[in-house]
Structure formats: C-alpha cells, structure tokens
Symmetry: C2
Subunit: 272 residues, 2 copies
C-alpha cells in the first residue's frame, strides 16, 4: 500500500510543551487529518493530555503512548463548577512540572473558554502557548462547496454563538437580517427558534438559505439543507447530541461533494 512517511526534525523546540508549560491545542473539527503538524507534535511530546468530549479517540491515539489522558468533557456538575475544576486540573499538572497539552475541539480562539483557563495560569504564574486549529465553520463550508465571504455578496462574516452565560445570546439580529449576510452559528440549535423569530421580526427574507452541518468532517457528517422559514422542521431531523454548525445565508453548491472524506483515515505513528 502506498503510504507517505514524514520526518519532522525537532528544531521547533519552542512549539513543544516543556515541563511546567501548558500548550493549548486546537484539534480541528474532528477529522484526524485536519490536525496540524504542530498539534500532532504537541500531542506526541506531552506528559498529560487534558481533552474535551469532542476530541475523538483517533486524535487522542496520536498522543505519546506514555501520556496520561484526562477527559474533562464529562457532564455532571454545573457548567461553572466544571470550568473551575478544569482550570484547577491544568494548574495542578503544570505545577508538577509536567508537559501539559490542553486540547480542545476546533480552534482554541472560538467559543472555547480559553480566556478562563489562561487567567488561571496567569494567576499561578505558569507559562502557556497556543496552537490554532481549524474551526468548524471552515470545515462546514468546505463540505458544501462554499466560502464564508464572496466578492459582491459579503465582505464580512460573523461567527457567533446561539447562547451565552445569560441564556440566548444577544446578537445584532437586525444587521444579520439584511440580504447577503452570512453567519456561522455555533451551538445554535437550542436557540434556533429564538434566532428565527428575531431574524424574521427584523425583516429577513424567510427564503434565506440555512444549512446545518452535523459532525463536520467526521465519518458521520450530515448536511441538512433548509431555509429560515423551514428551520423548525429541519431541527426535527437532527441527531441528538451531535455537534452542529448552522450556516446562515448559505446553501450547498449543486456540484459540491458533500463529504470530502469517505472515511476518516487512520494514522499510525512511530517515534524514531
């Protein structure tokens, strides 16, 4: 079988976790091949890998075999207790002079509560570094053959969340209701009826295309094509618990290959 072997010299030392340092790693949307080379190296050089629920087993399998894996994605306590628990866990392992990789689904910079974890490290006077990852919006539009921006249509795109600490997030729905606007809505499903109501109240065209991409880039990716008017019906067809990204203002291209991988390829690793 044809396979490619890549040798990565370890001369980018500053990118590797060092004892007592935390590397925040964006794992990308799910497909193990959407990991960056830098993320892979961090995983291979960590003593402890602290990961969310959405980081897949195939990604975690790339960690150093001797690394301790800690899943902090279990739901149990309330959200804020959980976050404080996670912060304390990261600090404790870094204080013990371990090389800590804190890996999150997607990109660390988007809806990932990165600031709260860095605040905890700052308070403990511990160093950190950040490796960016592919965010779900980039992966979801790639699957439907679209771009997030387009000359003559939209010179800006909004990435927003459907809910925040106070419940449904307060967004500038009026601005989004204008023709040609495009937004990628993270964690938008619970808020979908609320968002639909706000948009239509502000004069959005009910025929505005809406595409929901479930499990973007994963083997079980599913694309649901609907419109603002029909959004509530589409919600009935979703898979419970699956991560989903809502693309407001975009429909798939007719010619799009709806999934750009047929199977999430396995990566086998060896350390030379």
């Amino acid at each position: 079988m044809a396979s490619s072997t890549i040798t990565i010299p370890a001369n980018g030392a500053a990118t590797l976790p060092t004892p007592g340092q935390v590397v925040f790693v964006g794992a990308g949307p799910g497909d193990v091949e959407l990991l960056t080379l830098k993320a892979l190296r961090a995983l291979q050089n960590a003593d402890v890998v602290i990961h969310d629920r959405l980081v897949g087993a195939d990604v975690l399998a790339l960690a150093n075999p001797s690394a301790q894996l800690i899943n902090v994605g279990k739901q149990g306590f309330g959200p804020s207790t959980d976050q404080e628990h996670i912060n304390a866990l990261i600090v404790r392992h870094a204080r013990a002079s371990l090389r800590v990789a804190r890996i999150k689904g997607g990109d660390c910079a988007l809806f990932a509560r990165l600031d709260e974890e860095i605040d905890a490290l700052d308070a403990a006077d511990l160093p950190y570094t950040i490796i960016p990852g592919i965010t779900a919006a980039s992966s979801a539009v790639a699957s439907i053959g679209q771009a997030l921006t387009k000359r003559g249509r939209n010179a800006s795109v909004r990435l927003l969340t459907g809910h925040d600490t106070k419940g449904f997030a307060d967004q500038d729905w009026q601005a989004l209701a204008r023709p040609g606007e495009v937004a990628a809505i993270y964690m938008g499903l619970k808020a979908a009826r609320f968002i639909q109501g706000r948009m239509i109240m502000h004069g959005a065209n009910p025929d505005t295309p809406v595409t929901i991409v479930e499990n973007a880039s994963r083997p079980d990716e599913r694309v649901i094509v609907t419109s603002l008017a029909n959004l509530p019906d589409a919600l009935q067809t979703l898979t419970s618990g699956a991560p989903a990204l809502t693309l407001f203002g975009l429909a798939p291209r007719d010619t799009a290959i709806s999934r750009h991988t047929t199977q999430s390829p396995l990566l086998s690793q060896e350390l030379a």
Copy 2:
C-alpha cells in the same frame, strides 16, 4: 536529534487529488507546521500545484518532487484579468487529467476568491474538493494570548476585509463601534484611516485597543500594539508588502508569549 516520524496510510483516497480533479488547499498563515496532515497529503499527491504569492517556499518544498509548481501570485495585469487567467489555468490542467492542488494562504473560505474559481470548474463540469486551512485571525490571536470570543465580553466576532471590488468595503461600522466588539480585519491597512474615521464617527472609544500582527506565525512575525486613536502612527512602523491582520478590540495579554515559534521548523519528507 530527536525527531518524530509519522506514517500515514493512504486509505483516505477521497481526500487525494485524482486525475482531472482539483483540490483547493488552505495552507494556513505561513508556518509550515500549521499545515494540516490532509493538506500535506494533497501536496504530495498532486501533479500540478498552483499557488499564491503568500504560500511559502518551505510549504511548496513539501510537494511531490515531480510536481509542476505554478506561481499565480505575480502582480502584473489588473486584478480581474489575473483572476480570469488563474481560472483558465486551473481548468486547463484539470482538463488534461492532471491531479491539481490549488493552494492558497490561510483558509480557502475567507477572502480567497474561491467562488470564482469553483464557478469556472462548474462551467467546465470538472470536480473539486476543498481542504480547510488555519486562517490568519486564529493564528494572530494565538500569538497574543487572546481568544476571538469571550464569555461576558463578546459572543460574536466579525471577520471582514478593509476593501472590496468597489474600494473601501462598506461595513457596519456603527455596530463595530460598540464597547466589547471584536473584529479581525483582513487587508485592512490601506483602509485603516478610513476605518478609524468611521469608527470614531460612530462613537467608538478612541482608547479601543488595536493590534496589528504582521507575518502571523512566520519567523518574521511582528506584533504592533496600538489604539484606535493612535492607529495612523502605528501604520508608519509597518513593513511594506508584509501580510498583516488587524485585530480590533484586542490587546496582547501581558503574559503572552508573543511568538509561539522561534523559528519555522523545516520538514523533510521521504516517500515510503
């Protein structure tokens, strides 16, 4: 020297360019280690690599040694002539049953004129697939220890361009002028004074932090920290011709490691 070797089985066939098919590849912001594994595989399996000016020599060095490299980033004709020339070039090579990788800096989905190139392929009835990449905004915030969104501060972020086909892009400056807003402005330098004027006209605080990241993730990355009021002075210090991303509403964390790589590591490759 410690180095890691990764063997990637070639069982993700759908992700590889096939004869007559075009794979659009996001190269990320510059650091070769911010390539995804999928992008690397596409480069290694292409007959022709059509690339922009901002895709670095170290990234292109990872292409199949027998691949033809075509630089379409040269400036010469007007922008629209250039784009038509690029479209025709892509179509011609795909029609010749070659495996074509069309590689762009950053993410294909953002300010990359992807739609125009796909339209040309659609018109020629040629298949394509898209591999997302790390966009400059994700890399720039990582360098300054910040996230693009934060609970209690901003539940949305705008990615926008400073100019479009008609000149300075018409954006919702009024909405951006509100406290707590965050935006990543691509190609914003020429429009910086225009943007500053619009923002202040709409009541933005002149002390709003503005951070410009030049050559994000590259060895020559430079972070310029300023404010909305002082933006014109900061512009005087920029490197001519360097790609720059403007982060509106964000200043670097005091504790941020301003560059998360000290040197862009080389990748050597061998095919097994």
